[in-house]
Symmetry: C2
DNA sequence: TTGATTTCGTTAGGGAGCTAACAATATTAT
DNA sequence: ATAATATTGTTAGCTCCCTAACGAAATCAA
């Protein structure tokens, strides 16, 4: 199966944008890439919620927090927010929801009265053991059109983009 | 500048995940790719709002709607929602906000009493002429670590991912 | 020790995202 | 023509997301 057999034609938006935009000095390829990154993210987000998360009273954000907790075991709030890429005020709400459904709970820091630690409950751990492979199967499905080398190349390019933004938060 | 000179090492999350996850039959590369797509999207979203959009009372979603309207001229609501990748109920709120700031307005359909058409105001058009190149410069900055061929390859792979999901909404 | 500054988590207010239910209008069936 | 069905946009309820302001606690200064 050659590369030509696969559907990689431009989306409607890209096509129109290409024609509409010639008055400005625009980088259409950069625009298309970022725009399509958003499309993939939204698509994955919605599909994951609908297929696997909703029935467990879990949102995608809640899952992300549980994912980090599952990987790291436990974590202090401010670090958890940073790792999830959300504001600290947002994390408060998400942890409230997770606590309501008893997937996680808060603990006070031993020596510092300001800090709180979020830990995974047994129920949360069990759920993650079940959800993690399911979500990964969805991820696998999303990139099934790419071969091993292409997938590695995609990962490399995304890391380049991320690291080139490190300085300007 | 060779490929080796650029920072494309794995993120902390990827590294930890790789070690924690060996009990399951997981595709770590697929996980890393999707996860990093989300990171790029969130980073771009926040940066665009902070740098260019906030000062005009515009959110990223509001900008997206204006962007589609600017490209297509005008559009019926249900189609606009679909093109933006959001639910119709969500679009109602966004158009309310856009109307409040007079960037866009609703018109009734000529023959079908159910349908509404959203059109860009003069104020919205002027703003987009200014914002469009600014956002594009941010997009350009995001992919500045990739050369022309790599960027084209990235776009091609993202399109493959998107089209391979076409069947399962 | 006392006072100023910093850090951490929560809260409040605005906007965005979903689903489900609803009213209004169109379309189709009988 | 009338009834049943389908479609469109809005609304309500919940969650998420941001920023800004706040209180509590820790740290630093003098």
């Amino acid at each position: 199966m050659s590369s030509k057999d696969r559907d990689d034609s431009k989306t409607i938006q890209e096509r129109i944008a290409t024609t509409h935009v010639k008055d400005f000095d625009l980088d259409v390829d950069a625009m298309a890439a970022i725009s399509n990154i958003f499309r993939v993210a939204v698509l994955f987000h919605n599909l994951a919620e609908k297929r696997f998360l909703q029935k467990h009273n879990l949102t995608f954000s809640g899952f992300t927090v549980l994912w980090v907790l599952w990987v790291f075991g436990r974590m202090e709030s401010y670090q958890l927010a940073k790792e999830c890429g959300i504001a600290k005020g947002t994390l408060t709400g998400i942890v409230n929801t997770l606590e309501k459904h008893q997937f996680a709970m808060r603990k006070s820091h031993a020596t510092d009265g300001r800090r709180k630690i979020v830990i995974l409950s047994r129920k949360g751990t069990d759920l993650m053991s079940k959800l993690f492979p399911l979500i990964n199967s969805l991820e696998r499905g999303f990139v099934r059109g790419l071969n091993k080398n292409e997938l590695a190349e995609l990962g490399r390019m995304l890391r380049i983009i991320l690291h080139s933004q490190d300085n300007l938060s």
